[in-house]
Each structure stands twice: as C-alpha cells, then as structure tokens.
C-alpha cells in the first residue's frame, strides 16, 4: 500500500514538474494550487510576548519576529548581509552615481491579505509614516536624510536623499520598514500585510496564530508557491526554562535566541537540532569618558589591558561566540573588520598605566549590571580581573527594564553593560552611540577625529576607501575608545529534527526567514 502511495506521489510530482515547464504566462491561475511534498504542517514555537505590533513601534525581538511574518520588506537583506531581489517586493532598483536618487521597481501582482494589490502608493505611505516626526517612530532619525518620496507610476517609487548614502538599501531593510496598507486606519489591530502568513488570531497575553497566505508572491526554485508551512502558532511564554522544556517535550518545534546555558543539554537530545551562526551581538562594557577615573585615556586603556576576553567568553557563554577587540565592528562584517590578534592580557602594563595616571593605589567603581543572562556572569568575571590591578568593582544588579527604563539609567551610570543587537552594516553603531552628539552616546565619549572618519565612511562610495576608513576607526577604538567588548555572541536557535530549510542567519538585521522552512516527514 505504502509503495503504491509513493509511486502515485512520484507520478503526481513529475506531472507537476512537467506542468510547470509548460508555456509560461498562460493566465490559468484559477486551477487549485499545486503543492509540493514540502508543503504542510503547522510550526509551533514559543517566545516572550510582544510589546507592540504596529511596525512603526516595533522594539523587541518578538515584535520583529511577528512583523516579518505578516508583512514584507521593500528590500530584503540576506544572510550574508546583501540585498536580495528575489526575496524583496521590489524586483529591481538603481541609484544615480552620487547615491542620492534611488529608484525602485515594484513587483506586480503582490496582494495584501484582503486582496488589494500593493502599489507604490502603499510604499510611499509606509516610509512617509516612518519618517513623520509627529508619529515619532524609532526610524525618524534613520530616515532624516530622505528629502522626498515620489511615485511616478503605480509600480515605481523614487527616494531622493539630501546626502549620498551607500547603505541606503540596508536602511530600507530596517525591521520597522514593513510595507503597510495605505488605507489602514488602525495599526494596533489591523494587520493587513502582504507577508507569507496572515494573522488568524492574536491574544496579546497568550498566543498568536498565523495561517499560510495562499496568494503569496514568492515561489521556490521549482516554481512551487511559498511558504511551505500551513501556519505558525507562537505561544507567549515568559520563562526561558518553560520554553526549553516545551521544545524537549516535543510540544513546540522551534525556538530562537537560546540562552547558551541550555545548549549542551539540547545538543544531546537526538530529536533536536541546534544551529549556531556568528553575529555582531555584543554585551558592551562601556565607561563614562567625561567624568570619573575613566575620563583619563590611560585608565580606560589600563582596564582594557587587564581584561582577559577569552576567559569571559568561556566563563560567561561557554565559548559560544568570538572574542571582541573593543570596537563595535566585529568579524561578522568581513572586509570592514580589522583583523588583529586578540591582545595579550598585561596586568603589569595595566598597573603601570594606572600609576602614570595617578591611580597607583587603584580606585572603586560601581558597574551597573542587567539581571538578564549572561550579563551578571560577564560582570562577575570582569570584577575579578579588575581586582588584580587594584580596581574594586561593585556590581549593582538591576532588571533590564529598569536599566533601559524611563530614567534612562543606561545612558547615565558611570559604568554599565549594554547589549547591542546585530545590524546588517556597521555604520549605525557609530552614528547611534559613538559620535559626539549621538542620540545614545552612553559612554559620553567625544573624539573629533572619530566623528570626521565616521562621517566620511557614511558617505564614501568607493568600497576600498570605505574599508580603509572603517579600519582606521577601529584603530581609534582600540587606542582610546570608551568600550570593552569581551565577545560577540553567536546567534543560536534550535528546532525539532523534522524541520529543515533554515538558512544559517547571522542575525545581522535578518531574523529567521520562515518562508523556506518545511517539515521533512510529510507524506
């Protein structure tokens, strides 16, 4: 019986392949959709509850994960941090020589879930909303450079910029930039997008259920419609242990952003596959450089010299990452990364530097530490390393929502550990946190030379020259920068052994793409 079924399936499959080789553009879309053996199955997963589903105000990983299921990006940045036309709703684009005028041609026939076709009007609406200061989205500063968005026709959209921006495609792929329906009147409750999945039900304190979008525009290499999954069920569990146990118990199929302490246990489980990919996510130990002992370059340098990065990498996250060089630009950026060996720990040299700065007897500092893993572990190990050069570190534990809370503790405390997520390109780190008047200049560092280089790198159109500029910037960070980056942590996720199709994702702005994911055990 089984044999017959398999034969039948194979015959059917070959017929389908033959059919798809037939004359293209025969307008016979009405026939029932042909699905491949990869199709079917509902993916069950769990994560912390989202805070906001309005694309303009997405802020957490959960928000981002949900948004990219029901909507699409004008430009999709792939796992290698390159724009990918085949996964974007814009099918082609071009820029003038100065990278100031960018023209995008939209795919035709991309439908919103309610059946309306997406046009340039929706795209213009999306970006006008994201840059409107009255709405106040997190992207206002990012899109400040946009002078105007125009729509010469239904499928063409033109962005005019004030200044050259070689990174503009990546700016457009910011996770808030989900294409919105221009006729939508309530973004808190109406989720009419073009994305691969449609929101079937959303209970904010319990779960969200997605159903497959049968009209989705993307196809796989054999011409079968994507996505493969029939749906997604995302349960909101506020406890990472509960998430892990649900995965081990087979009640969910997939988990993202796993804490490293659970990995060895999961790797032993034959029913679970654990994936790791390098990322640029870092826990940045930043020092206020405008007051206190760390205002002195020597002191900051001494603290870096006394830091044993490998010990922190091994001790805090079991080595699941790579050591940092105290610059925000990590190895995940390829050519932009200045590849120098990890500095040898030098306790004596550090002591000498401290003495030179007049701190021969050491001093006391308070390190504000978020309670979420692995930050306390980093703080504890670093505290011991600092003790060896006479710096007495007092660890002050605070919940993450207090650290980032209304009083903006993270921008004020003398010493703190701030987590910075991965981005598809290095420039935002500099613009957001390290130039003199950066919005989140948490270390209160101001270095005119860095400002000049960062500004030049932002606009530099010549790739080689840009690489040179970024390297120079990293040298400045190593010499006198206000941060210690012990490591960049891997992006870690896990799934049941019967799921396949994941692209190893560095997490550089690209969260998991579930469109090509499928269950292997079907039929």
């Amino acid at each position: 019986m089984k044999k017959i079924l398999i034969t039948a399936a194979m015959v059917l499959f070959s017929l389908l392949v033959l059919a798809s080789c037939g004359p293209a553009d025969t307008v016979e879309e009405e026939t029932p959709e042909a699905l491949s053996p990869k199709h079917g199955g509902v993916l069950r997963t769990a994560y912390y509850a989202p805070t906001n589903l309005d694309p303009a105000f997405l802020s957490t990983v959960a928000d981002d994960q949900i948004g990219r299921q029901w909507s699409d990006f004008l430009v999709y940045i792939d796992e290698e941090n390159q724009p990918d036309e085949s996964r974007s709703v814009a099918e082609e684009w071009s820029a003038d020589e100065a990278a100031k005028v960018w023209t995008f041609k939209l795919r035709e026939g991309v439908l919103f879930h309610d059946g309306k076709e997406m046009t340039s009007r929706d795209v213009k609406f999306t970006f006008d909303r994201l840059r409107d200061p009255d709405i106040g989205a997190a992207t206002v500063a990012l899109y400040e450079n946009i002078v105007d968005v125009t729509t010469p026709d239904e499928y063409t959209i033109v962005f005019e910029l004030a200044e050259s921006n070689p990174d503009f495609l990546k700016d457009l792929a910011d996770y808030h930039a989900l294409i919105m329906d221009a006729d939508n009147e309530d973004f808190a409750t109406n989720f009419n997008g073009t994305g691969p999945f449609m929101i079937e039900s959303y209970v904010p304190e319990d779960r969200i259920i997605f159903a497959r979008n049968p009209n989705y525009w993307m196809t796989d290499e054999e011409g079968f419609p994507l996505p493969y999954l029939d749906g997604i069920e995302l349960i909101f569990l506020s406890d990472s242990t509960a998430q892990i146990e649900a995965l081990r118990g087979g009640q969910i199929d997939y988990l993202i952003y796993l804490p490293t302490e659970f990995i060895p246990m999961l790797e032993e489980d034959p029913n679970i596959v654990v994936y790791q990919a390098p990322s640029n996510t870092a826990y940045v130990l930043r020092m206020r450089s405008d007051e206190g002992p760390a205002a002195d370059d020597h002191v900051r340098q001494a603290m870096k010299m006394a830091t044993d990065r490998s010990a922190i990498l091994d001790g805090a996250i079991d080595g699941m990452g790579v050591t940092g060089r105290d610059t925000p630009i990590g190895p995940a950026y390829g050519e932009f990364y200045l590849d120098v060996p990890e500095p040898e720990r030098d306790v004596e040299g550090a002591k000498a530097l401290l003495a030179e700065a007049g701190y021969g007897d050491g001093f006391d500092i308070v390190l504000t530490t978020q309670e979420s893993s692995p930050v306390p572990a980093i703080a504890t190990i670093w505290k011991e390393q600092m003790a060896e050069i006479g710096i007495n570190v007092e660890i002050q534990l605070v919940p993450s929502d207090v650290y980032y809370g209304a009083d903006n503790m993270w921008l004020e405390v003398p010493f703190g550990i701030t987590d910075w997520g991965s981005r598809p390109y290095p420039q935002p780190y500099l613009d957001l946190a390290y130039i003199c008047d950066a919005q989140w200049n948490e270390s209160h560092w101001c270095d005119p030379e860095l400002d000049e280089l960062a500004d030049a790198a932002a606009k530099e159109m010549d790739h080689e020259e840009r690489i040179r500029l970024y390297h120079e910037i990293q040298e400045i960070f190593m010499k006198r920068g206000p941060i210690i980056i012990p490591f960049f942590i891997n992006n870690i996720w896990a799934s049941g052994a019967d799921l396949d199709g994941f692209e190893p994702t560095s997490g550089l702005g690209t969260a998991m793409d579930l469109r090509p994911v499928y269950f292997t055990g079907q039929q």
Partner: protein
Amino acid sequence: MYRYLLRRFAFILLTLFLASLIIFTATQFLPGDVAQIILGQFATETAVENLREELGLNRPLHIQYLNWAGGFIRGDWGTSLVSRTPVRPIVLERLGNSAMLAVMALLIYVPLGIVLGVIAALKRDKLPDQLISGVSMAFVGLPEFVSGLLLIAFLAIGLTWFPANSSINPDTTFREAFPYLVLPAITVSLTGLGYITRMTRSGTIDVLRMDYVRAADLKGLPAWQVLIRHVLRNSLLPTVTVVAMGIGWLLGGLIVTETVYGYPGLGRLIVYGIQRQDLPLIQASSMIIVAIYTFSNLAADVLYGLLNPRIRVGE
C-alpha cells in the same frame, strides 16, 4: 448568625477597599513607564508623551483611582493598555482556567492528605508516621519551580506520560485540558499535601485521646466505624478550614506553577501584566485574588461553624 454574617461582610468590604488602595498605589510605583514600554525604548519623546496623554496617565492620581475603583464596582474593569481590549473577559477566562487547575489539585491532595494524615495518626511515632510526616513536610518546603522541573524531567521528558508544557488555548474545555492539568496539579498538590496531612494527623491524634472514642471502642464498635463515625467527624474540622483557605491560595498563588508550565491561568496573566506594565490588567487580577481570599476565608469560618455545633455563633 445573620448579624455575624453581616458583620463579616462589612469587614470584607473594608478589606477590599483597603486592598484596592494598596493595589492601586503599588502599581503606580512599578519601575518603568507604561507608554515607554508599549512604544519601545527607541520611540521618540513626542510619541511617548502623546500615548501617555491618550492613556490618561497624566491625570492626577486620585482622579485615576476614583475612575478605576468606580468603574470596577460597576463591572467596568478597564481596558488593557497593551491589547486595548476590555480586561474583564480576559481575567474571568483565566480565573476559570485557574479554577480548573485548582479543582484538579484539590481532588488530588485533599483525599490523599486525609488518608495519609489518618494513617500517620493511627501509627503515631512509628515508621509510617515518620515517613509520611517527613516526606510531606519536605514537599511543603520544595519550591514549585524545583518540583515542577523535576516532574517535567521525569514524567514528561523521561517517561513521556504527560505533556511537558501546558500552554493550552485559554478557551479549552476541561476535558480537552485534562492531560495538560495533571503535572501542574501534582506540582501544586505536593505543596498543599503537607498542610492537609499535618492538620489531619494532629486533629486525629487529639480526638483519639477523647473519652467518647474510648467509649465507642469499648462498647464493641468495629474499628473502622469508630474511625469514620466518631473520630473523623471531629478530627477533620480543622482540615476543612485548611481546604477552604487553600482555595484562595490555589486561585491566586499559582504564579510560579503556571509560569513553569505556561498554563494560561490568573497567575501567568499577572506575570504578563507586570512585564508589560499593563496596570488595568494587574489591578483587576489582584482585586479578584484578594476577593477570593477574603471570601474563602469567610467560607472556611462559616463552614467550620456549621460543622461544629459547639462554636455556632449565638443569635
């Protein structure tokens, strides 16, 4: 009796009023800002300020309290700040789920606790007593996040008898929910069991010493009749109180258990509310829990009086 009940009722109202003041004040001091949490740390000041205004967070506190308390009495429990939907149906649905779990747990630990307590009393100071008393007290001291994880490891992941996670749909019926209730119910029972066992044991020991028990024994009644008709009717009185008060504890105190199992009851709802600073949700859930506590206390006292004619309150 009626005057007694009336007086108790007045006290309950006073308790609820004070509780509402405390809950309202306490929620104002939660760290963080609701509007900021909803919009995320990267939203602009303008956006945050607009939302604060829209949510009425800028009004004077006493006005906010009066609005909230007045609405609560009228049955309008407010609107969730996060989902922008009325709080009452959510809280009631979750209360129903917690009740399912509570019933399940009571069915496990009350009979078991009584049986174990009686055995311990009858075999007082002998090995069975020592074993029962020792083990049940150890479970009382074991936090639910430990016992829960141990049960998951053995019964769910090791033996795969039960699901490891109980995050069922909140509107699931009791029958569908049953397999998902077993492990959380056992976890809770482990804590409750010790109290019942101890109460039953000491009550039974006291009664066994009574003359009328000896008399019943001496007049030749079979041992089981003595136990059921003469001993238990008296010795279970304190246990009844513990069970009734346990209902309050079960409906409101399951925060840890429900979080470990992801069970959609009132406990998990409160954790969610606190994480999202959803004040109306926290306030309504807390008020319900306080109300259940006070009423189950009253029920315990009334029940005690009904079962024990000796302390029936005089007219």
